[in-house]
């Protein structure tokens, strides 16, 4: 509270506080984390809103994401160009949605985006297979994978088209009280 920081203007910090689930201190801390990933590219002065994006290879090396099997999908879901390059706003957005205070509906939307590998707005059988392989590190047999995929679609698909739309996904999430605690990364 004593020293005046020059990374953001006060209005910018207020705006971040209103639009995300972080406080000013946490935003400054996030900027520190963003900066230390590429100190030569990321400027310390964000008052003029510089247009700086970090490539996906740098982001997925963060300790919070490094061992996560879905790390590429997480970063791609939050990047505006879809390729995984995150600006500081995208970076803050990502951790804000994954924080403790984000509501269930918001988390469900992004979880759906993450598990939708071919980005066709449906979780089809191939998406499910990829998810399962990532979850179990490909240690399930092909027969087991097929069985599990069938069961999942049978349980969650409501309109009978053989794939999960967002409504099906969200309906299923609403039955899982643990979703809020597991879909959470502490930063």
């Amino acid at each position: 509270m004593g020293n005046k920081q020059t990374i953001f203007t006060d209005e910018q910090l207020d705006a971040y506080q209103d639009c995300t689930f972080f406080t000013r201190k946490e935003i400054l801390r996030l900027h520190g984390r963003y900066h230390e990933m590429a100190p030569n590219i990321v400027p310390m002065d964000y008052t003029k809103d510089p247009d700086v994006k970090l490539p996906i290879q740098l982001i997925i090396n963060m300790p919070e994401l490094k061992e996560n099997p879905f790390k590429e999908r997480i970063v791609e879901a939050f990047s505006e160009d879809g390729d995984g390059n995150l600006s500081f706003n995208d970076f803050v957005d990502m951790f804000s949605v994954l924080s403790e205070m984000a509501p269930r509906e918001l988390k469900a939307i992004y979880a759906f985006k993450i598990y939708d590998f071919n980005t066709d707005n449906f979780i089809c059988k191939s998406d499910l297979e990829k998810t399962l392989n990532k979850l179990t590190r490909e240690e399930l047999t092909a027969e087991e994978i097929t069985l599990v995929c069938e069961k999942v679609i049978e349980e969650a698909d409501m309109d009978g088209d053989g794939k999960l739309a967002f409504a099906d996904f969200e309906n299923m999430i609403s039955k899982a009280p643990d979703f809020l605690s597991t879909f959470h990364i502490r930063i």
Binding site: A15, Y16, D18, C19, T20, F21, T23, R24, K25, K66, E67, N68, P69, F70, N89, D90, S96, L98, A102, E105, L106, I109, Y110, A111, F112, D120, N121, T131, L132, L135, T136, R137, E139, L140, E144, L147, V148, K151, V152, E155, A156, M158, D159, A165, F166, A167, F169, N171, M172, S174, K175, A176, P177, D178, L180, S181, T182, H184, I185, R186
Partner: protein, 742 residues
């Protein structure tokens, strides 16, 4: 790019009770199937309800709610149209910004119009939300997006700032757009409110107000950041979650919650009772010397200190009126402080506030974790919700992969074996085993209770004999340590026996196994505590003579129990985790490490907290002891966890179990302590020689006499005494209030 669909709620349905959230799309979505079947009736309904305002996109007009339009474009929602609409990818989240923004606009509009109650006939009573209240639109123009955005901005302005903040935070658009929306809001706000602000310089009052507001804002931000920095152990919790996941983390979060409760209790007691008494120490000096044994026994030097009930005065401190003398000389700076009243009121009020806090956190946790619905969906939930994103260490991640694989295989096996039901013989065999196990555990509880009872009686006799014999004080007090040690030993050993019993039982579902373990341990602990409470109150610690202070003795006993509980928890950590790991690694050469038994450890925490709540009346500084104990326990448990334990292999529903724990904290634990406290206050005669209630028949009497004095001094407030008499004394009302709170 898929065609975006806008859902517009006609203004005629303002205040309709259906909450338009993004999940309602699913509800609408699923209703298509039924609509396809009930086509004919729906058509009629749709036709009669649409003159409520529709937007005509082809005309390119902005939303004009009042003007009804002939239903030219969509004369009948045929099954084909519904099918097309249902299959549109934009029904999912892949819709354009325009649709998302329109959706959010509708939600904010809804929020604004929610002020009035809707007339009953407009509320849809059908369980199946139908298309009736919605008007499907196919938004083709890009121009629409800009208009919708400006409308959204206008709507957001009408909300209060906190609601606006909530809306912005929960919007599923990228942060850059949220920031630009907010900027637009800021711009609009100034032009709407003070149109000539930019022209006139601010007057001095306006400038002052502006500065005051800025000052408050920065003060509020400072307070928030202070609160966040006071969040202790952020890094430790992250480390624990990163290695062990949400399940083990829930134990440490529960510990943090208990710490918060104790800090609150301690601060209240400190301000109103302890500090004021410390400012006016009694005349008698402390005759004993400090030896090290006091830290364990709580007796000796500590007996005549602020720690116990016996130290507190039974008169009004700093009283300007001398008793017996009718004249009062109120001097400068004299503030009379009625100590007995303060004592009983502080404890009563702080218990009441804690009850409210507990019930509130229980209901919030319950709301989040309780889900109505079929138990199907195990596979889907396992695939999408089982991966714990908090886990960041490589080894733990590998373990998690293995666990999920095992759980999926188990689920598959279970599903395949469901087709083969268990034979009658096997089912009978299982019932017999279950019955036997429960009979055994209840039998051991009974055995333990009887043993504790006789042991307590025996120790009392021994203590009295040693007093009669005149042996040293230290020896006498050391004898008193034996009962707490025995009880803590029992609490340490019995859970392991119950684990063995559960291993023999071989329950199929691990969830049920955890529940049974919790039940058995809880029954044991609560029954033993109940017996001890009865023993203390009935025997009054063997102080049948008039010159002894039985409340201080009970307080000392509870202090001993708390300290012994801590010592034995330490012992349990060292033996159960450290020693076991060494044995497994060195002797048995197994790579597996012991697992952290979450349920047992949480029950130990609840037990310790119950002891604190039971003892707070007799030992006002007991919450401070408990705070110290909890802080030390955090670090010890964390170190032991990191060194000795491995991640849990069984599935653990973290949020569900957290609800169970906080319910257990509220119901047997807090309720039991509150009942004990109420009984002591209402029905037990305080000792005649010490404490704030020496001269009264019951502790409650002090409150009653104060009310009577109030009545005498100012007859205008008889309404207060009437409330007091009829409501507080009427226990039925208390039950009613607690029922309402729940």
């Amino acid at each position: 790019m898929s065609q975006p669909v806008t859902l517009c709620v006609p203004e005629s349905w303002d205040g309709a009770s259906l909450d338009l959230s993004l999940s309602d799309e699913g509800a609408v979505h699923s209703s298509f199937q039924q609509l396809l079947q009930e086509q004919s009736t729906e058509e009629l309904e749709l036709q009669e309800l649409t003159p409520g305002g529709r937007e005509n996109p082809a005309a390119g007009r902005t939303e004009d709610w009042e003007e009804p339009e002939p239903r030219g474009e969509h004369p009948d929602f045929s099954s084909a149209t519904l099918r097309i609409v249902a299959s549109m990818p934009s029904r999912t989240i892949g819709r354009s910004r325009g649709a998302v923004i329109s959706q959010c606009y509708n939600r904010t509009a809804k929020l604004r119009r929610r002020s009035s109650r809707p007339p009953l006939h407009q509320i849809s009573r059908s369980a199946r939300p139908s298309l009736r209240q919605y008007d499907l639109e196919l938004d083709t123009g890009h121009v629409e997006q800009e208009d919708t955005q400006s409308l959204l901005v206008k709507e957001l302005q009408t909300l209060s700032s906190s609601q606006r903040s909530h809306m912005l935070q929960a919007m599923p658009v990228s942060l850059a757009e949220k920031l630009s929306l907010r900027q637009e809001l800021g711009g609009h706000r100034s032009t709407l409110r003070k149109p000539d602000r930019s022209r006139r310089p601010l007057s001095c009052c306006g400038q002052l107000k502006h500065d005051v507001l800025i000052g408050f804002r920065s003060l509020w931000d400072g307070f928030l950041s202070l609160l966040h920095s006071l969040q202790p152990w952020h890094h430790s919790l992250k480390q624990i979650g990163g290695r062990f996941g949400s399940s083990v983390l829930s134990y440490f979060l529960f510990l943090k919650t208990l710490l918060a409760f104790n800090v609150f209790l301690f601060l209240t007691l400190l301000i109103f009772v302890v500090a004021t008494q410390a400012a006016y120490p009694p005349a008698a000096e402390n005759s004993r010397l400090f030896t090290g044994l006091e830290l364990l026994t709580g007796a000796g030097y500590f007996t005549q200190t602020l720690m116990y009930y016996g130290y507190y005065s039974n008169f009004t401190l700093n009283d300007p009126c001398t008793p017996g003398d009718r004249s009062c000389q109120p001097g400068k700076g004299h503030l009379p402080y009625n100590m007995p009243l303060a004592y009983v009121f502080t404890i009563g009020v702080s218990f009441f506030i804690m009850c409210i806090l507990l019930v509130y956190s229980m209901s919030r946790s319950f709301g989040e974790s309780y889900r109505v619905g079929s138990s199907s969906g195990d596979f889907a939930i396992k695939v999408f919700c089982a991966w714990d994103y908090k886990v960041i260490q490589r080894r733990s991640v590998r373990l998690q992969n293995e666990n999920i694989r095992t759980q999926l295989k188990e689920l598959l096996g279970e599903w395949q074996s469901k087709s083969r039901p268990m034979s009658l013989c096997r089912r009978l065999g299982r019932m017999v085993v279950l019955g036997l196990a429960w009979a055994l555990s209840l039998g051991t509880v009974l055995g333990c209770v009887v043993a504790v009872y006789y042991f307590a009686e025996h120790m009392l006799k021994v203590h009295q004999e040693s007093q009669a014999r005149g042996s040293s004080e230290a020896r006498q007090e050391a004898f008193l340590l034996v009962l707490p040690m025995v009880v803590s030993l029992m609490n340490l050993v019995m859970p392991y026996l119950y684990n063995l019993l559960a291993a023999w039982e071989k329950q199929e579902s691990p969830v049920l196994e955890v529940y049974m373990a919790i039940c058995r341990n809880l029954i044991l602990k609560m029954v033993v505590l109940g017996l001890l409470c009865y023993h203390w109150l009935s025997r009054k610690m063997g102080c049948s003579e008039e010159d002894k202070c039985w409340e201080t003795s009970v307080g000392q006993e509870l202090y001993r129990f708390v300290v012994m509980d801590f010592v034995f928890t330490l012992l349990d950590t060292v033996l159960g985790e450290l020693l076991w790991r060494l044995i497994l690694e060195k002797k048995l050469m197994r790579k597996q490490r012991p697992e952290f038994d979450i349920a047992r450890n949480v029950l130990e925490l609840i037990y310790g907290q119950t002891l604190t709540w039971l003892g707070v009346l007799f030992c006002p500084l007991l919450p401070a002891v408990q705070i110290l104990k909890l802080v030390l326990l955090f670090y010890i448990k964390k170190t032991s966890l990191m060194q000795n334990c491995q991640s849990p292999s069984k599935p653990w529903r973290a949020s569900h179990m957290s609800t169970v724990f906080i319910t257990l904290l509220c119901f047997p634990s807090f309720l039991g302590a509150a009942i004990f406290l109420s009984y002591t206050i209402w029905a037990v005669r305080p000792s005649r020689t010490c404490g704030p209630f020496q001269t009264q028949e019951t502790i409650y009497e002090s409150g009653k006499t104060w009310v009577q004095e109030l009545e005498k001094s100012s007859p205008n407030i008889t309404w207060f005494t009437w409330i007091h008499q009829h409501l507080v004394e009427n226990t039925f009302f208390l039950f009613f209030v607690s029922g309402v709170l729940l």
